[in-house]
């Protein structure tokens, strides 16, 4: 069972079965070890990283990773909670899933989450001089078209 495996590889995490996909919530510090296990553990083999996104909860951030296993056809959502709002940091996984490289750059660009050990962490969409991270809830756009 996937649930049992998840409790062994992430003992500190909480598992939520209410949603349509099984979801695992962990702390950002444990993310790297859990990620390696998810990719290579016999019972998981989550080789397809479908979606990487960050959610701003005003007090903290969560990184949301959607996984697919192309062989076992099981799905999983992993939420890594980042408590430090002023300087959010999490380990990169772009050496495990190559697609994460661009997705993490996008999250850095729009949410301002720093991915440690990322090979090329730069702004992706916005210019290098841009101040602030637009997708954060407290971001204020001085030229707001709707308000004008």
């Amino acid at each position: 069972m996937l649930k049992d495996i998840l409790t062994t590889i992430a003992p500190t995490g909480t598992i939520d079965e209410t949603g349509e996909i099984l979801s695992l919530t962990i702390d950002a510090k444990d993310w790297r070890e859990v990620a390696v296990q998810l990719r290579y553990h016999e019972g998981c083999k989550f080789d397809y990283l479908f979606c990487v996104t960050a959610v701003d909860w005003k007090t903290h951030f969560t990184m949301v990773y959607h996984f697919d296993a192309t062989e076992g056809r099981q799905r999983l959502v992993v939420k890594a909670k980042i408590n430090d709002r002023t300087n959010p940091e999490i380990e990169t996984v772009c050496d495990i899933w190559r697609t994460a490289e661009l997705h993490e750059r996008e999250a850095y660009d729009l949410m301002g989450i720093k991915f440690l050990n990322h090979p090329d962490l730069r702004r992706l969409f916005l210019t290098d001089e841009w101040v602030g991270y637009p997708l954060r809830k407290d971001y204020d756009d001085p030229i707001n078209m709707i308000k004008l």
Partner: protein, 371 residues
Amino acid sequence: MFEEVGRTETGDLIINIGPQHPATHGVLHLVITLNGETVKKIEPHLGYIHRSIEKMCESLTYRQYIYVTSRMDYLSSHINNHACALVVEKGLQIEVPQRAQYIRVILDELNRIASHLLWWGAIAMDVGAITPFFHAFRERELITDIMEETCGARLTMNFMVPGGTMMDIHPDFVKKTKAFLNFFKSKLPEYHELVTGNVIFKGRLEDVGVLSKEDAISYGTSGPVARASGVSCDVRKLYPYDVYSQINFEEAIETKGDCYARYKVRMKELEESIRIIEQLIDNIPEGEFQAKTKAVLKLPKGEYMTRVETARGDLGVYITSEGGTTPYRIKFRSPGFSNLSALDHMVRGSKIGDMVAIMGTLDLVIPDIDR
């Protein structure tokens, strides 16, 4: 970034393909390091048409946010709208009438044909043939006419609403669609005569930009790109939505992973789309085209993820709801963005001409990448 333009320390040439360049089909900016004609490194610079759709959607209601998504992947706007409608229906547990499901799927497949046709013309144009483009647009024009008659617009239809479709189909819809299918089936052999069998075309695409199965999975590619590498990833088969579970069709899979395999997958998908429409078009059930929904839609607190198969691959819509009328956070996992990440890996070591062919077979739509 602009200091790089010119030459590297090792004497390699750096050239910019884009933002305005015939090969990029939009405002994609690629910085390419060249050694002679051979590509050493390729680096995408994005954001020229980033409209921050995700942020915009946070202030739009669940009825309103659908229209914005037409502007993401404008070539398969119906399918994008479909994904957005599905996620709301899933959250509110709305039962969609059979008629609406049929109409949606038919329109999806017509949209897929139109998108692949444009791609077919564009890839031929990329490798230098001119005539196929006109052939493709002749057929595509008929599809846009059908769309215009039923939805009122040719490209950004906004025809889906949560719970069904906005209007019923036009009285001529069935007749015209059938006429189009017959016409298209008679023209499809010409496509193969003109392009598929052509020795120059084959030479340009075969063994170019090979993406192995492991890499295809690791780079998170989806749609025709992944299927050409042997990854079974058709969402219509894996996680069927609407009436796809009742339809008999095949998933086009090739194993070689080169540009020609991607070409063949898309050509096969054209035929499969015809098959799907043919199965549905005669049996559109009578009844309502829209389920009764509340005037104000409020998604219950929670997280929702829907995946649909667009013409480019696997589009995921991820909504975090706090129970209000607008999404708290919405994320569009666009297929083009993940496919783009594999570009550098595929292009390295090949010629500039190959790069154009690889870009063509990836079928990138830049608004989809930038969102």
